[in-house]
C-alpha cells in the first residue's frame, strides 16, 4: 500500500538514526497485520479515503516517532528540584556580580561625566535580561547533559543518578534563621547593652573631631605633616552619621521605655535604617568637583602633589561607589523579600 509506505518513510525521518530500520520493520509488520484485519473485515481493500482516515487516527509521523525516543525531556523530575534551586542561585549571583562589576566599570571610567554614567546605567539595565538568559541557558545545558548521561548509564555514574546528597534534619538551619537574630525577640539585658553600646559609640563619634587620635591613633601626627586635608564634604558626612546614630539610639531608648524590646525588630524598621545608611554615602558621592581630599596650600603644592590628590579622590570615590552599590542591592533584596512575603500572606489569607 503506497500510502502506508509514505507514512512509514515520514516516521523514519524522525526516528533515532541507529534504530530506525529495526523500528520501521516492526511498525510495518504491526500496521500491515492491522491493515490485513481491516481488509478481511470489509472483504475488500481500503479506499484511499479510508486508508487516509486510518493513518490519521494512528497519528502524525512526528508524534509517532517521538514515542520511540529514549528521552523526551531535557531535565527529568528527579533532577528538576536541584536544577531549579541551582538556577535561582546562578541568576541571583549573576545579577549581583554583573551589577557590581558594571558599577565599578562606570566609576573607573570617570565620575565626572554624569550624563554618560546615566546612559551606562540604562545600558546595564537593558543588558541584564541577556545576562539572565545566557546564565539560565548555560545552567540548563549543563543539567541536560547530566540528565542525559544519567539516562544513558543508569546507576553507573554516582552521584549523578540519584542526585540526592546525604543530609540530616540536624544539619538544617534553625527556624527563622533566614532573618538572622533580627527575627528573635531580644532579652532585656541585650536591649540595655544595645543602648549602652549606642551611647558609647555616640560619645566616641562626638569626641573624634576634637581628638582625632581616637580614630587615627598615632597616624594623626603623621597626617599633620602631609600636604593634604579633608574636603568640607566630610563634615556633612560626619554630622549625618552622628544624626543617624542619635536617631537609632533614641529609637532604642523609646523601645526600652515602652517595653517594645521584647518584640523582634520589624522588617520595615530595618529597611528604613538601611535606606538611611545610604544618605551619608550618597553625600560623599555628590561632593563638589568629586573632591574628597584637598591640598592645604594649592598654590605651592599643586605641581608636586596635585596628581596624588586626584588619584586618591578617584580611588576613594570608586570604593564609595562600590559600597553604595552593595548597600543598594542589599536594600533592594530586603524590599523584594518583604514584598514577596507580604504578597504570600495576602494570598494565603484569601
Amino acid at each position: 500500500m503506497e500510502l502506508l509506505e509514505r507514512y512509514l518513510n515520514a516516521v523514519r525521518r524522525h526516528l533515532p538514526w541507529l534504530r530506525q530500520d529495526d523500528i520501521i520493520a516492526e511498525l510495518r509488520a504491526n500496521l500491515e497485520a492491522q491493515l490485513d484485519d481491516k481488509e478481511a473485515e470489509l472483504g475488500r481493500p481500503l479506499t484511499k479515503e479510508e486508508a487516509e482516515a486510518w493513518l490519521k487516527q494512528i497519528g502524525p509521523p512526528l508524534q509517532v516517532a517521538a514515542r520511540y525516543q529514549h528521552q523526551q525531556y531535557l531535565i527529568g523530575p528527579a533532577l528538576f528540584p536541584t536544577y531549579a534551586f541551582v538556577l535561582r542561585l546562578v541568576l541571583a549571583w549573576a545579577t549581583v556580580i554583573y551589577v557590581i562589576a558594571s558599577v565599578v566599570t562606570i566609576a573607573a571610567q570617570g565620575l565626572g561625566a554624569e550624563a554618560s554614567a546615566g546612559i551606562s546605567l540604562v545600558h546595564i539595565a537593558l543588558r541584564l535580561p541577556w545576562i539572565w538568559i545566557i546564565n539560565a541557558g548555560i545552567t540548563t545545558l549543563i543539567f541536560a547533559a547530566v540528565e542525559r548521561t544519567g539516562a544513558r548509564f543508569p546507576g553507573k555514574i554516582y552521584p549523578l543518578a540519584p542526585m540526592t546528597p546525604p543530609w540530616s534534619p540536624l544539619d538544617l538551619p534553625s527556624a527563622g534563621a533566614g532573618d538572622g537574630d533580627w527575627a528573635k525577640p531580644r532579652s532585656f539585658t541585650r536591649a540595655l547593652l544595645e543602648v549602652f553600646a549606642g551611647c558609647v559609640l555616640l560619645g566616641w563619634l562626638l569626641l573624634v573631631p576634637h581628638h582625632p587620635f581616637l580614630l587615627l591613633g598615632p597616624g594623626e601626627w603623621y597626617l599633620h605633616s602631609l600636604p593634604y586635608q579633608l574636603a568640607p564634604v566630610w563634615w556633612t558626612f560626619y554630622w549625618l552619621v552622628v544624626c543617624f546614630n542619635i536617631f537609632e539610639l533614641a529609637w532604642k531608648l523609646v523601645d526600652l521605655a515602652r517595653g517594645a524590646w521584647q518584640r523582634p525588630i520589624n522588617r520595615a524598621r530595618r529597611l528604613a535604617m538601611h535606606a538611611l545608611a545610604l544618605v551619608p554615602l550618597c553625600v560623599l558621592l555628590a561632593a563638589p568637583n568629586h573632591a574628597l581630599f584637598l591640598l592645604k596650600n594649592p598654590t605651592t603644592d599643586a605641581a608636586a602633589h596635585g596628581a596624588t590628590v586626584a588619584s586618591a579622590n578617584k580611588g576613594v570615590l570608586q570604593a564609595v561607589s562600590i559600597l553604595v552599590a552593595i548597600v543598594l542591592l542589599q536594600l533592594l533584596w530586603g524590599i523584594g523579600r518583604a514584598s514577596l512575603d507580604a504578597y504570600r500572606k495576602r494570598q494565603a489569607a484569601k
Binding site: 508524534q63 514515542r67 520511540y68
Partner: protein, 109 residues
C-alpha cells in the same frame, strides 16, 4: 475540553500508565507480536493505543523485562515478545503491589 475534563483526563492517564505495564507483562507470559498483543489486551478490556504499546514493548525489552525474537509468520517477519526471567520476577512483585493497592482502595470505599 473544560478544565475539569482536562484534570480528569490527566489523572486518568496517570492512573492507567502503571496499569498498562502490568497488563502487558501479564499478557506476555505467553508470546505475542505487537498487533496480536494489542488485540489480546483489547479482547480482555484493556484497550491500548498502538503509539503507546509498541514503544512500551521496546522500553520493557531495553529494561530486560522482555525478550524478543524476529520470526516469520504468514510470510511476514514479525517481532515476538515474551516475559524474561527478570520480567517474571518483577511481574510477580508488581502484581502483589497491585493487589495491595486494590485491597486498600476497596477498604477505603
Amino acid at each position: 475540553m473544560t478544565l475539569a475534563e482536562n484534570i480528569f483526563e490527566n489523572l486518568r492517564m496517570e492512573l492507567r500508565r502503571g496499569c498498562l505495564t502490568l497488563a502487558v507483562l501479564a499478557q506476555l507470559r505467553q508470546e505475542y507480536y505487537g498487533y496480536t498483543l494489542r488485540k489480546a489486551l483489547a479482547s480482555r478490556g484493556m484497550e491500548i493505543d498502538e503509539n503507546t504499546l509498541y514503544p512500551l514493548l521496546r522500553r520493557l525489552e531495553a529494561q530486560g523485562l522482555l525478550i524478543s525474537e524476529w520470526r516469520e509468520e504468514d510470510k511476514r517477519n514479525k517481532r515476538f515478545y515474551r516475559l524474561s526471567a527478570d520480567g517474571q520476577e518483577i511481574f510477580v512483585r508488581l502484581l502483589k503491589e497491585w493487589n495491595d493497592i486494590n485491597t486498600a482502595i476497596t477498604n477505603l470505599l
